[in-house]
Symmetry: C2
Subunit: 200 residues, 2 copies
């Protein structure tokens, strides 16, 4: 049962290349059907033993968003205070700090939890997030992949069962950023080896 | 700078839904340009501090594939011998065992390494693999996401620098499996909550 080449189109590459992380969102509302489309696409991802170890908490309630922001920033303060030298410079040069207004500004937050009892749950969750980001991009929605410095602090706001670990928060909306180029990416030449480590 | 809705098409969902894991590959050769397209797409993924902590070792040399298979199966034997009860039944019912002929049969293996010195490298690697799988699907190539039971054993065949961790092996080719339905997936109703844990 061989599959034929379906297409020489480059929809996937176009979506992948077009997507940029967004940290500043406008107050334009979003059509939830696009978000459900993206999650439905992501639910098709493979996972360890097909356990599909994911839960999505959609948050649009302003007071709850503010609580999530407070918990996240409290973890970020500790992280940013710990930074030194080159690493500190990297964050500063990008204007990043503990301050995370996007939690309030984005019309929707998707909080993603992984079931730590499932085999390879972390790998499964993040592969699925790859699907999710591309599906959001296809529908023209901007997003950020936020990985908390202190997931437990934020998680406690939502009180999941103890086996569920907060892996990521994806703020979603429309960008209010001034158009800027995508951060640079490595090329095939920098990343591929053939039949042995380091031959290129 | 708001983005417009680009499309109501469902290319992403179609790709996501169409992709099934393949464990039996035909001996049909593959056009490497499709694989490079998929990796180029995956290289566009976001990563922790944009470190892009990935290396891809492409393996098509039969003797090297056999070595990888040997190392993988040696780890799998230990894993399968450890299985008990319900978990053992799950693997048996799917005809899975320590025996992994796909390492020899697939015309190409992509061995994916993550730089453990990069922040959130594991999350970054697996998000990128989500991009990779969808791009392979777009080009009609079948794949499997193989997560080794004993990554170090396989890694030692390729001798990467010590900070590089083997995260996954993706065998690629055309399926020789008899057409079978995709394993079931959970629905939105099973996975989404709104503004609190457990309200659906």
């Amino acid at each position: 049962m061989e599959k034929r080449i379906k297409t020489d189109k480059m929809v996937l590459k176009e979506l992948a290349t077009g997507r940029k992380s967004t940290r500043k969102f406008s107050n334009t509302k979003i059509d939830i059907s696009h978000v459900l489309y993206a999650i439905e696409s992501a639910l098709q991802a493979p996972s360890g033993s097909n356990k599909q170890p994911w839960k999505f908490v959609l948050i649009d309630e302003p007071q709850l968003k503010a609580k999530i922001r407070g918990a996240a920033e409290s973890g970020e303060r500790v992280f940013y205070e710990s930074l030194e030298g080159e690493k500190k410079g990297w964050y500063q040069s990008r204007g990043l700090s503990w301050n995370k207004p996007f939690f309030d500004e984005a019309p929707l937050l998707i909080v993603i939890f992984g079931d730590s009892l499932a085999p390879n749950y972390k790998a499964s969750i993040w592969l699925m997030i790859g699907y999710l980001l591309l599906a959001l991009e296809e529908r023209g929605l901007n997003s950020l992949t936020y990985t908390p410095s202190d997931p437990k602090k934020i998680s406690s706001v939502l009180e999941p069962p103890t086996n569920y670990v907060l892996e990521a928060i994806i703020p979603i909306g429309y960008s209010a950023e001034i158009e800027k180029p995508k951060q640079s990416r490595k090329s095939l030449y920098d990343t591929i080896f053939i039949n042995e480590w380091g031959n290129l």
